[in-house]
Symmetry: C3
Subunit: 382 residues, 3 copies
C-alpha cells in the first residue's frame, strides 16, 4: 500500500513549487505549515519530551510500609482516674501497618458486669410503655442487651425503657467538648517505605541512605526544609490536608497520606524521590459538612478472684491514617521508541490528509489551490 509518491514529492517536500502556491495563496500555505508544525510539535514535545515516549514504563510498584508512632500522654478523667497512653494503647492496630488509627478521644465505662439494668433512652427500640413492649429474650435493635420482659418506668403514664440483660452499667452517652487526647497533635509518625520496580530490578527506600541515625532522631518532615525526612508530626499532617487537628480530634476522621514515586531511571538512582500528599478522605465537598466522625468500641476483659468476668469498655474516637503508595518508573527502551516514531509518522500522514481535506473543501479560495496541485501533478505525470 504505497501512498502516491509523486504527490508526496510535490506537495510536501518540493519547496520550490510550493512556494509558488504560497505566493498565489498565502493563507492556505501558512495554515498548511502551521498544522504540520503543530503535529511535529505534538510528537516531539508531547509524546517524546513530556510523556517520555522513548521509555518503557512500569506501573506495578511493590511496596512495603512500616509505621511507628512515638509519644506518651497522661489523661485524668474524673470518673476513672489517671490513665497513661503509650503507642501500644492509642495506636490501633499496634503492628505498624499502613492503615493506622490514632485515638484522640474516648469514653470509658469501667467495671461492667453481666447483669440486669435499664436500656438507654436514646435507643428507640428500647423504649416501652408496658411489659408487653419488651418481649423476653429478644435483643434490642442497635441496643445494649437482651430484653427480660419488664418495662422500667418512673411513673404510670411516662415512657420508660425495657430492662435488659447485658453488660451493666451501660455506657453513658456523653457530649464531648474537648478531645481528651488532643496532645497527640505533637506526636510523630515514622513512615518507612520500601519500594521495588520488579521490571527494572530497582529498589529504594524513602529513608535517605545518607541520613544517619542522628538525623532520623531529630528531623521532622517539612515540604521545603526537610523533604526527605520520613518523620511527620501528626498535627502537621492534618494541617497540610487543610483541616484543624483539634477539630478533627473531637469526633474523629480519616486522612489519606499518598506517597508518589515518579522515577526517571535514565537520570540515575539519586533522582528518584518520594512525594507526599495529604488529603482528608471523609469529607463531602458539596454538602460543606464534615461527616460525623470515626469511632468504635473495644473492651478489656478481667476476672475477679471468684472467677467472674468484668470488663472495661472503651468507646474511642480518632483519626485514621491511610498510607497509599503509587509509583511509575520509566527507562529507555528501543521498542516503545520505534513504536512511537512509527505512529508519529502515521499521524503526520493522517494530519497531512486532513490538511488537504480542509484546504480543498472548506477554504474559500480552494479552487486555485486545487488547480495548482493538479497542474503540478500533471507536469510530472504526462
Amino acid at each position: 500500500m504505497a501512498v502516491d509518491l509523486r504527490a508526496v514529492l510535490l506537495s510536501a517536500f518540493d519547496y520550490k513549487t510550493e512556494k509558488y502556491v504560497i505566493a498565489k495563496n498565502k493563507k492556505v500555505g501558512i495554515l498548511y505549515r502551521v498544522i504540520q508544525l503543530s503535529l511535529l510539535g505534538y510528537i516531539i514535545g508531547w509524546v517524546f519530551l513530556t510523556k517520555k515516549g522513548y521509555q518503557e514504563t512500569e506501573e506495578s510498584i511493590q511496596s512495603s510500609v512500616i509505621t511507628k508512632v512515638k509519644g506518651v500522654l497522661l489523661t485524668n478523667s474524673s470518673g476513672t482516674g489517671p490513665r497513661l497512653w503509650g503507642p501500644e494503647d492509642y495506636v490501633i492496630p499496634q503492628q505498624g501497618e499502613d492503615v493506622l488509627f490514632i485515638t484522640t478521644n474516648f469514653i470509658e465505662t469501667p467495671n461492667q458486669k453481666l447483669g440486669y439494668c435499664a436500656e438507654s433512652f436514646k435507643v428507640l427500640d428500647g423504649r416501652c410503655r408496658k411489659n408487653e413492649d419488651c418481649p423476653e429474650g429478644e435483643a434490642v435493635v442497635a441496643g445494649n442487651g437482651v430484653r427480660t420482659g419488664r418495662c422500667l418506668k418512673k411513673d404510670r403514664n411516662s415512657t420508660g425503657t425495657c430492662e435488659i440483660y447485658g453488660w451493666c452499667p451501660i455506657e453513658k452517652s456523653q457530649r464531648l467538648i474537648v478531645p481528651l487526647l488532643g496532645k497527640t497533635e505533637n506526636f510523630t509518625i515514622y513512615i518507612k517505605n520500601f519500594i521495588r520496580f520488579p521490571k527494572f530490578g530497582f529498589s529504594k527506600s524513602n529513608v535517605l541512605d545518607t541520613a544517619g541515625d542522628s538525623y532520623l532522631k531529630t528531623c521532622l518532615y517539612d515540604a521545603i526544609a526537610h523533604p526527605y525526612c520520613p518523620i511527620f508530626r501528626l498535627g502537621d499532617i492534618v494541617l497540610r490536608s487543610g483541616h484543624d487537628f483539634q477539630d478533627m480530634a473531637l469526633l474523629g476522621g480519616s486522612i489519606g497520606i499518598l506517597i508518589e514515586w515518579h522515577c526517571d531511571l535514565d537520570k540515575g538512582y539519586s533522582h528518584c524521590h518520594p512525594r507526599y500528599t495529604f488529603t482528608r478522605l471523609d469529607f463531602n465537598s458539596t454538602a460543606n459538612s464534615v461527616s460525623s466522625g470515626y469511632n468504635f468500641r473495644y473492651a478489656h476483659y478481667f476476672k475477679n478472684p471468684a472467677g467472674e468476668t468484668h470488663r472495661t469498655l472503651l468507646k474511642v474516637y480518632g483519626i485514621r491514617f491511610d498510607i497509599q503508595v503509587h509509583g511509575r518508573a520509566g527507562k529507555f527502551n528501543i521498542i516503545p521508541t520505534i513504536i512511537n516514531i512509527g505512529s508519529g509518522l502515521a499521524l503526520m500522514g493522517a494530519g497531512s490528509f486532513f490538511c488537504d481535506m480542509v484546504l480543498l473543501y472548506m477554504m474559500k479560495k480552494s479552487t486555485l489551490y486545487r488547480e495548482r496541485k493538479f497542474e503540478k501533478a500533471n507536469k510530472y505525470v504526462i
Copy 2:
C-alpha cells in the same frame, strides 16, 4: 506526505461519478457504503456516545471506608454459661475497617493453664506406640504443645498420644451442627464510603446529603426501594451473593462487597451514585463445592490472685466481608475530543483503503470496478 488527492476526489467524495459505478455494479457500491457507514457508526456511536471519547477520565479513585455493625446477642452454651456478644466481641478487628470478620460460630475452651496433658488423637504427629515416639522437647507438628517424652495410652497394644506440655485442657474437637451466633443474620452494617477523584477535585459520600439522621436510623438497603441507604442487613448481603446465611455461618466464608462509582461529571453532582454488588469470594464454581470455611483462634489472658496465668481460648468461625471500592469519572475535555476525532478520521481512511482492497481483489466482479476507477482517474489525469 499527501495522500493522492485525485483518488480521494474521485472515489470517496465525487458522488456523481460514484453513482455511475453503483449503477454498473450495485453490490460493490452497497458494500462500500455499508462499510463506510459502519465505521462512521462505530466512531460516533461507540467511541463518542458509548465510550464517551470526548471526556477525560480518572480511574484512580481515593476512597475511605468506615464500617459499623450493630446488634447484640446472647449465647448459652452448655459448658461455659451465658455470654453476651456485642460488636466489640464478634466484629474482628473492631476498628471499623473495610475488611471485617463477623463471628457466627465458636468453640470455647475456658480456664486453660500451662501444664501436662495428652495430645489430641486427631493430630497425626501426636500419635505414638512407645515413649521413643515422643522425643522430649520437640513440638508436635500442627499440634498443641511440646512433647515431654511420655506416650500415654489406654492399654499396652493400643495407639496412644504423646503427653505434651501446653495449655491444658486442650480444645475438644467438636462437630458443629448449628451456628451459635446465627442471629447475626439480622444484624446491620453501616458502610460509610467517601470517595474523591483528585483530578477533578470531586468528592462524594454514599450517604445522601438529603438523608437526615432519622432516615439513617430506620432505613435498610434495598436495591429497588432504598438504593441509597447505606445500611445493610447481613443476611441480605449473603442472600444477594446467592447463598444462605445459616449454611455459611456454620463453618464460615468470605463475601465481597463491591462499591462501584461510575460518574459522568458532565451530568452534574447528583447523578454520581454508588452501585453495590455482592459476591461470595471463597467459592469454586467448577468443583461445585464450597471450601471448608473460615476460622481462627484467639485467647483472652487472665491472672489469678496468685499471679498464675490462665486463658480462655476461642476458636471462632465466621464470615469475612471485604469491601472494595472501584470508580471511574469522566468530564469533557478538549484534548481527548481532538485525539478521538483525529484517530477516527485516520480509521476512516484505513477503512476506505480496506474497502478498496476488498473490492479490487476479493470480489468476483471486481474487474469492472477496477476498470471504472481507472477510467475515472484517467479522465482527470490526462
Copy 3:
C-alpha cells in the same frame, strides 16, 4: 480517503515489475521486503501469538486470601519463665488475613504498674542535669512517661534522667543475640486463595480440586515437586526470597508473596494455575544494607484482687508476610481480533510509506528506483 490504488498495484503487489526493479537494484529491493516481512512478523508473531491480540482480557481480578499458620513453640527466657507460643499468640493479627506478622523475637517486661521511676538513659529528651530540665507534667519526647519535675542522678555533676510517671519498671533495652522464636522457621502457612474473573464468570482456587484432605495434611510447597501444594514452610519462603531466616528473625523484616494468575481461558479450566514469587520488601539494593528491622509493642492488661491494673508489655520483632494477588485472563473475542487486524493493516501501510521514504531519500542509488517507479506508473496511467 482512498490511497492511490495504482501505486498499490504497482509497487506492492505487481511482483513482475518489482522483480525488474530488484534486478536493477538488488539492495533496495531486499531491504524493502525485509521491512515488509518484519512488519508482518511483528503483527502475526508479537500482536497475535505473543500478546494474544485476538483475546479480550480482564485485569480486575477479585481475590480472597485466607491464611492459617501451624506450629507451637516453647520459650524459656530467664526472667519470665516458660512461655508457650501458639498461632493465637505469635501471629498478629490472628484472623488469617493476607497481611500477617509472625513473631520471631521478643522482649518481655512483666508486672508493670503505673508509678514513678527514672526515664531510660537512651531517650535523649529524658536526660537532665537539674530539676528545671524536667518540667512537671510534660511528656518525654519518644519516652516512656510524663515528667514529675525531679531529676534523678547518681552524683552532683553527672547527667541523670528525669523521674517519670508511667508504667514502671520501664522496658530494659537489650541487645538481641539470637531470635528466641527461631524455630518458627519450620512452621507452615496454608494459603487459601480464591479468585474470580467477573467478566468471564470464571472462578478458581489455588487448592487443587483433585487434592484430597490427606494430600493437604502432608504436602509442602516446592517449585518443582509440588507446585500446586498451598502449604509453605516459613523458612523456605524467606530462603526463596534470597535471605536467611535466622538473620531476618533477629530484628524482623518484611516479605512479599506474590500470587500471579495468568490464565488463557481458551485453553480450558485446568490450564489456569497460580505462580508464586517471593521477594524481600524492606531491602535497599543500592545501600547494600538491610533496614533496621520490624518491631512493635503491645500489652496484656490484668487486674489484681484489689482492682489495681498491671500489665505485661511485649516488644515483638518479626517477619511480616504480605500476600498480593495479581491476575490477567484472556478469552477469544471477535472485537479485539478485528481491531488488531485493522490496526495491523494500517501499520503495514505506514510501514510501506516509511520504506518508500527511506528508499527515495536516503539510499544512495535511489534515483534509479525513483525513475523506475515513475516509469512503471506512467506505463499504466498513460
